[in-house]
């Protein structure tokens, strides 16, 4: 039976504390030397609607979820059987997702019978939550009070899970000890007793029947558990970003909230603006004002930023960095769900031809690193930079060993003061036409660097001009900076070919699907006999067309994998290289592609040839 491989899930109504349970569970696994990947699915709702949290545990590094569940912890009946009886049903529950031989933990008070669950090959572990709570509380010498103590139901869930998979439960208490604020330290003791009572009950009642086991491994105390949103925030801090605006929106808010928690510690101003138009224009103002400036949003907010982006490009602002956290569109869409549906919009985010940079990280390290680099791009090429992220990358907890800052050096680009002498006393020209396209920039406050700039077409001195020759000179010089960026950026930043040079099939993708693809590659090769490699494209604009064409030309079979309807990267690749990737594995049901879906999709595409496959596990 499986050792140190577990797909755990907890489900229940929004607001019932599943987040807390899952996060303690995940953290505890990490403490015990294991790797985790955990992600939540929830409705755009504050309390009551069905949500669930997956924690996948493994002894090797993992970066994605799988659709099957080994151990399901159901806090309510809906988690088991769905809402099929409601007037507008949305799901069939999670029982059908349980792997044969897997199990369900539930509160015996729910009164759900094994017949209702209806799966013989699944073990049902009914746990008397209330009794265990009472028992624990009284062991701690206190009197049970449901209002005060029911919050520990979470701990029962985690302890029962750990006990079933035979894992040391003491780590749960360690984590609580670390996390609870000083003034609530007395609660550690009570929690410890509840853990104890639960562990004892589970061992007594179910023994070691459940075949899945987690074993503590050599403890690597430095491993982090972190979300993409945090990694982006860290990238901003490390880059010296001193100004961030935001307007609340899922799934971008987490990043700003993280930054808000450090604003007393770092010289960064976080401003919650009145809307996203204000966000982008404040950020452009701050960038022109000398700050490394940023804003973060999701699709609906980004839809408000188009004019501001063109404005930043036209006035050659150094940035700002705009983090676009994709979620299920179109329109308000699926506010708390995942998608990679905003690529083409991010590539054409305003009227007219103007330069901007679009970069798409694929994991935690890349989220940190390319957010950092985005500020360098902004400063060096004086244009807005879009960092494309998404719901699953942003909000999933990933276990990583380190955040590496190797080679990350801030570069603020060509500044006027450095070049002042070369001017020979000639008046400073903010938009001087240069060979590279870059004009040394001055920052307000600089005595010799006075300039005016404008969203209108302008002369090299920033005066409004509708002259023809000037127009061509300015237009060309702005666009030329994209060539410079392309030339100066190492190929390794633009794209990566993961896996062997030669393969039966080359998977082509971008962004957060990286996790599921990398995880699937080994299985495809070892278990399904399909040798694949994986072209991850990171730089979307300026697009490394020649490089990509070369890789694709040399490949055997091509398979596109994207979490959107149209295969937007595929469209971009065809636009830039002419190459049509006919086999597409797409997912657009609002959930991220899973490792097994990559395996299934690739296997099928490899088998049948050119095909558009839509993945979904309802």
């Amino acid at each position: 039976m499986p050792l140190n491989k577990l797909s755990w899930m907890i489900g229940g109504p929004q607001g019932s504390g599943i987040n807390r349970s899952a996060e303690v569970f995940a953290r505890a696994c990490i403490r015990n030397g294991l790797h985790v990947f955990s992600n939540i699915e929830y409705h755009s709702n504050i309390m009551g609607r069905h949500s669930f949290y997956r924690v996948r545990v493994n002894d090797k590094r993992i970066r994605s979820h799988v659709d099957s569940v080994d151990l399901l912890l159901a806090l309510d009946e809906e988690t088991l059987l769905g809402d099929v009886d409601s007037p507008y049903p949305t799901h069939r529950g999670h029982v059908h997702e349980i792997a044969p031989g897997g199990g369900v933990i539930l509160d015996s008070a729910l009164g759900v019978s094994e017949e209702q669950i209806g799966r013989d090959e699944v073990q049902v572990f009914a746990i008397p939550y209330a009794d265990l709570l009472k028992e624990g509380v009284s062991r701690a010498g206190l009197e049970y009070n449901s209002r005060r103590h029911d919050i520990m139901r979470n701990i029962v869930s985690v302890a029962a899970s750990f006990a079933l998979v035979d894992m040391d439960t003491s780590v749960i208490v360690d984590i609580l000890r670390q996390q609870l604020p000083a003034r609530r330290a007395h609660l550690v003791e009570v929690n410890a007793r509840v853990v104890e009572a639960t562990t004892q009950f589970v061992k007594d009642e179910f023994g070691t029947d459940f075949g899945f086991t987690l074993e503590s491994l050599a403890r690597d105390s430095d491993r982090m558990i972190i979300r993409g949103a945090d990694a982006v925030g860290l990238g901003k801090l490390y880059a010296g970003c001193s100004f961030q605006t935001y307007y609340p929106i899922a799934p971008a808010t987490e990043e700003s909230e993280f930054l808000e928690t450090v604003q007393t510690q770092f010289p960064i101003t976080i401003l919650q603006a009145e809307d996203e138009i204000a966000c982008i224009n404040m950020a452009v103002g701050a960038a022109h004002g000398g700050a490394r400036a940023a804003t973060s949003t999701a699709g609906p907010g980004f839809s408000m930023m188009c004019e501001g982006l063109g404005f930043a490009a036209m006035t050659e602002a150094p940035g700002p960095v705009v983090c676009l956290y994709q979620r299920g569109g179109p329109s308000t869409g699926l506010p708390t769900r995942h998608s990679q549906g905003d690529l083409k919009f991010a590539l054409n985010p305003g009227h007219g031809d103007f330069p901007h940079i679009v970069v798409a990280p694929g994991d935690i390290q890349e989220s940190f690193e390319f957010t950092f680099k985005a500020f360098n791009y902004g400063d060096k090429y004086q244009m807005p930079v879009i960092v494309l992220l998404d719901r699953v990358l942003a909000n999933s907890f990933w276990a990583v060993d380190e955040i590496s800052v190797d080679g990350l050096v801030a570069d603020r680009g060509e500044l006027f003061s450095e070049n002042g002498a070369a001017n020979g006393g000639a008046p400073y020209k903010r938009h001087a036409v240069t060979e590279s396209g870059v004009s040394p920039r001055s920052i307000p406050g600089e005595p010799g660097g006075l300039f005016v700039t404008t969203s209108d077409e302008h002369t090299d001195s920033g005066k409004i001009s509708e002259g023809i020759e000037n127009r061509l000179a300015q237009m060309d010089k702005r666009m030329r900076k994209l060539d410079l960026m392309a030339a100066e950026t190492p190929a390794a930043d633009k794209w990566t070919l993961h896996g062997p040079e030669q393969a039966d099939a080359t998977l082509v993708s971008w962004g957060s699907t990286k996790g599921a693809i990398i995880d699937a590659m080994r299985v495809l090769d070892e278990d399904l006999g399909i040798k694949v490699n994986f072209l991850q494209i990171r730089l979307m604009r300026p697009f490394p067309a020649e490089d990509i064409a070369k890789v694709l030309d040399e490949a055997n079979k091509l398979i596109l994998i994207e979490d959107n309807y149209s295969g937007q990267l595929g469209e971009l690749i065809r636009e830039k290289t002419g190459i049509d990737i006919e086999s597409k594995v797409l997912k657009y049901d609002g959930r991220p592609i899973s490792q097994n879906e990559v395996e299934e999709g690739v296997a099928e595409a490899a088998r049948v040839g050119p095909v558009r496959l839509v993945m979904s596990h309802p």
Partner: protein, 313 residues
């Protein structure tokens, strides 16, 4: 010229405004330049930020840093640049369409913030640069030259909006009184917090109702000018005790009443003023170490960056 004379900056530049002859914008431009000169500010420490419109061209005509931004977005931009560099004196300018139409949301929400900068609206009752459509201040029933029908919407009251939004300095100026306006601008810039001046600005080309002649009362039998200085009447706009809610409300009430005075008598001058903590003050409270989020020309990784990583372990 043989010897360059060292002289006080007059904030003039080599670009000629392309406004129409007789446009009130000239008066406002002169008043701003005059105010800057009077305050003896250094050109490189001033940033003038504008929206789009005839009025939006103003930064091109002032010898400071200048940002001619987007239609309706001068205030967010000004907010950003001010927070990036608090040493700058920031003056945002724009039209009434820019500020109260497309920019109304920013007008309201900037008032709440009380950042230390000044906003001057060129209120001409029309969308000048797009050839004379009604602006949000044009009142119901009015029909200016290029409108095919009379307005069927009410005009908004900028002063009332400002007071309800939280502006801490609220004034009205008149473009054809550059001296008085320059003084008003000096007071506004010196005020700690967001100061707002709605400037009545004749647009001789498109607004044939609120003309200079009209403001001057030349159509009236008694030829009495319509605009008058509040201060002449002993009007007192200043809240003495900012902790006294009753006083605040009372001052807001009389300011509102004054702002509706129109027709035969049109008051100009400061309508409301109060001393309140600025947004910058609030930020500083959050950061007790005194680092004021200053401009960062050379970004360096923050020293204690690695400490924050600890949270994720």
């Amino acid at each position: 010229m043989a010897v360059a004379e060292l002289k006080r900056p007059d904030f003039k530049v080599d670009v000629r405004p392309d406004w129409c002859p007789g446009c009130g914008d000239f008066g406002i431009l002169n008043a701003i330049r005059q105010a800057l000169a009077n305050m003896r500010l250094e050109p490189h420490n001033v940033a003038v930020v504008s929206g789009i419109g005839c009025s939006g061209k103003t930064p091109h005509y002032i010898g400071t840093y200048g940002f001619h931004t987007l239609h309706g977005r001068a205030l967010p931009f000004a907010t950003g640049i001010k927070l990036a560099n608090r040493e700058l004196t920031v003056i945002a300018v724009g039209g009434d369409g820019d500020g109260y139409g497309i920019g109304a949301g920013y007008f309201v929400n900037t008032g709440r913030r009380n950042l230390d900068f000044t906003y001057i609206v060129f209120n001409n009752g029309v969308y000048g640069l797009t050839k004379g459509q009604a602006s949000p201040t044009l009142v119901r029933g009015e029909q200016t030259k290029s409108m095919s029908e009379a307005a069927i919407q009410d005009g908004i009251n900028p002063i009332g909006l400002a007071i309800s939004s939280g502006y801490t300095f609220v004034a009205r100026g008149y473009a054809m009184d550059p001296r008085g306006l320059a003084k008003l601008i000096v007071d506004a810039v010196r005020h700690r917090g967001t100061s707002f001046i709605d400037v009545l600005q004749p647009c001789p080309v498109y607004n044939d109702k609120q003309t200079v002649e009209w403001y001057m009362g030349r159509d009236r039998e008694d030829k009495q000018r319509r605009v008058y200085q509040l201060i002449e009447e002993g009007f007192d706009p200043v809240v003495r005790d900012p902790s006294n809610v009753d006083e605040i409300v009372q001052k807001k009430q009389i300011a509102l009443a004054k702002s509706y005075e129109w027709g035969d008598r049109i008051p100009i001058g400061v309508l409301f003023q109060i001393d309140m903590p600025t947004f910058e003050d609030g930020l500083d409270l959050r950061r007790p170490d005194g680092s004021k989020g200053a401009i960062m020309k050379q970004a360096a990784p923050y020293q204690d960056f690695s400490s924050v990583l600890g949270r994720f372990r």
